[in-house]
């Protein structure tokens, strides 16, 4: 009797849990359906299935949009996101290691800087930033975006990696030093290979942050052919007097598929990084 009750309770919990999951998925599902079905079929609601025609025309339309092709947008986003991830990763790893091994007092300052930057809205720097970049003739130049993303990403990367490096056993490094290895060699041959999970977290979080950014790109990049993927979402499928939902939803899915694939493949690292810098600080 008692066992039955426990089983029933378990069953109810499972039903609730999976219903919530499905409920949460519905907006995504709607957009997905609108992207793979012709316009006249979703007109009476994407949830009606009296006819179902699978078509990729909307995807082709968004990919090859005559003015704002997403093919170019994705390429541009990669051109910005890859260096904006690698540069602060490289600098952050060196600095984080330095702070972890050679200076112990920096931690609270570093921490305050990270919290400060995390709290700071981009709006509070954007006007002078625009003016600086304008004076340097870096508007419509990806260098400006890469610089700003690197500068904003660096503090949390340093803190995150510093915290990770300080948990590594120092004995191995000392042994290597006795064997005559230089600091940099120790870092490259011993510390970095042991830190791959932490480096993966940094790459995933920073890459997604840059890929998903819209505001900075909006202010620094104007040239049509240079617009990033997120910037094209506002133009794609928007016709003069109506929204072409097929093309807009297909375009949206193309833009979001990159961070979602990364999340699905590297979920563990994403969540670890996320928890690492919000909960543990």
């Amino acid at each position: 009797m008692k066992l039955e009750k426990a089983l029933l309770k378990k069953l109810i919990f499972h039903v609730i849990a999976f219903s919530i999951g499905i409920l949460w998925l519905i907006p995504f599902l709607g957009v997905f359906m609108a992207s793979i079905r012709p316009f006249d079929e979703i007109f009476r609601g994407w949830w009606t299935f009296d006819r179902f025609t699978l078509t990729f025309n909307s995807y082709i339309g968004a990919w090859n949009d005559p003015v704002y092709p997403l093919s170019r947008g994705l390429l541009n986003s990669f051109i910005v996101a890859i260096p904006s991830t690698i540069i602060p990763l490289f600098v952050g790893a060196l600095a984080g290691y330095g702070f972890a091994r050679f200076n112990f007092r920096i931690k609270s300052y570093l921490f305050l800087t990270v919290v400060f930057l995390m709290a700071l809205p981009q709006q509070s720097v954007i006007v002078p930033l625009f003016q600086i970049m304008n004076n340097l003739r870096l508007i419509d130049n990806y260098l400006s975006l890469i610089l700003v993303h690197s500068a904003w990403g660096l503090p949390w990367i340093i803190l995150f990696l510093r915290n990770f490096f300080s948990t590594l056993p120092i004995e191995i490094e000392e042994a290597a030093r006795i064997d005559g290895a230089s600091d940099f060699k120790i870092f490259r041959k011993i510390v970095l290979p042991m830190s791959l999970p932490a480096l993966a977290s940094v790459v995933v979080l920073q890459f997604m942050w840059v890929w998903n950014d819209f505001f900075l790109a909006k202010v620094l990049i104007y040239e049509e052919s240079m617009l990033l993927a997120t910037q094209r979402v506002e133009y794609i499928g928007r016709e003069a007097f109506r929204v072409n939902w097929g093309v807009l939803t297909a375009g949206s899915i193309i833009v979001m598929i990159v961070p979602i694939i990364i999340f699905v493949l590297l979920q563990r690292y994403y969540v670890k990084g996320m928890i690492g810098w919000t909960v543990k600080g």
């Binding site: 999951g21 949460w24 609601g45 709006q123 819209f214 994403y270």
Partner: protein, 274 residues
């Protein structure tokens, strides 16, 4: 860092005291902005939006914070003992990795008169006002955005609380069971007090998210119709890069900065104390 963060903030502060022609005008820009109906629309008060960006951000916090915080907590507790719950968690967390600009498109679609499922449900229920495109009417635009942001953001508090739950030893629950405590009492006496430190993190991050909200407003309503769904970050961008008034934009930016700093103080104190 110094060049790309610290200097620009000080420069923004400086700009906020200048007139567009560059003379020092003291607080007059602040006066101007705070008395502008796009920030604080006193005349609109008994009625619905537009009430001004400051009020819209406040409404955003008042609705979004409790819903996503307790929603995330409830989800974390429900999903704790469910086998295969990691799939459900991943689905809920998708909103956190979706670019916000795309999130705005999705919520616009979901609240659209002919294509959206929410409006379709209200249509079946016979609630006519809510079966129209939410983002096209001043009465509903702001709320479409807020509910959309709940859908996108709840994954955050769920993940944080889930991580917290995982650190609570199972023995506590076994002991409570032996003592005959019911599920409610167990929650009140064990789960909630042990999760309390995480509340600071969730509350701070959520309010920061609400204050900085920009992308979904931009793409789904462009602050409209009229100014019915405008928010601080959006109004700042529009003042700077559409109206081209950098000085008033700097004022809005400073207001936003002050608000975010005030919100962050408890988080700093909490972490420094540990």
């Amino acid at each position: 860092m110094l060049f790309l963060v610290i200097y620009p903030i000080l420069q923004t502060l400086y700009l906020s005291f200048l007139s567009p022609s560059g003379e020092f005008v003291g607080m007059s820009n602040y006066n101007e902005v705070l008395n502008d109906p796009r920030m604080l629309n006193v005349a609109g008060f008994p009625k619905w939006p537009p009430l001004g960006a400051l009020v819209h951000n406040a409404i955003w916090v008042l609705i979004h914070l409790p819903l996503s915080m307790f929603g995330g907590l409830a989800l974390a507790i429900i999903l704790r003992d469910v086998r295969g719950s990691s799939i459900v968690k991943s689905i809920i967390f998708l909103g956190m990795v979706t670019p916000l600009i795309v999130g705005g498109v999705i919520l616009q679609f979901t609240f659209e008169e002919r294509f959206g499922i929410i409006t379709a449900i209200f249509n079946i229920l016979g609630v006519e006002q809510l079966s129209k495109t939410w983002t096209a009417y001043p009465q509903t635009a702001l709320f479409a955005l807020i509910f959309g942001s709940v859908w996108l953001w709840t994954g955050f508090s769920m993940i944080v609380y889930s991580a917290g739950l995982a650190t609570i030893p199972n023995e506590y629950y076994e002991a409570a069971k032996i003592d005959g405590a019911g599920p409610f009492k167990t929650f009140r006496r064990i789960t909630f007090p042990l999760l309390r430190p995480l509340n600071v993190v969730v509350i701070t991050m959520t309010i920061l998210y609400d204050l900085k909200i920009f992308d979904i407003v931009y793409v789904a309503t462009f602050g409209g119709p009229g100014r019915a769904s405008t928010v601080l970050a959006f109004e700042m961008w529009r003042t700077a890069f559409r109206t081209l008034n950098f000085n008033e934009a700097a004022v809005i930016a400073m207001l936003l900065t002050i608000l975010t700093m005030v919100v962050t103080i408890p988080l700093i104190r909490y972490t420094v104390r540990r």
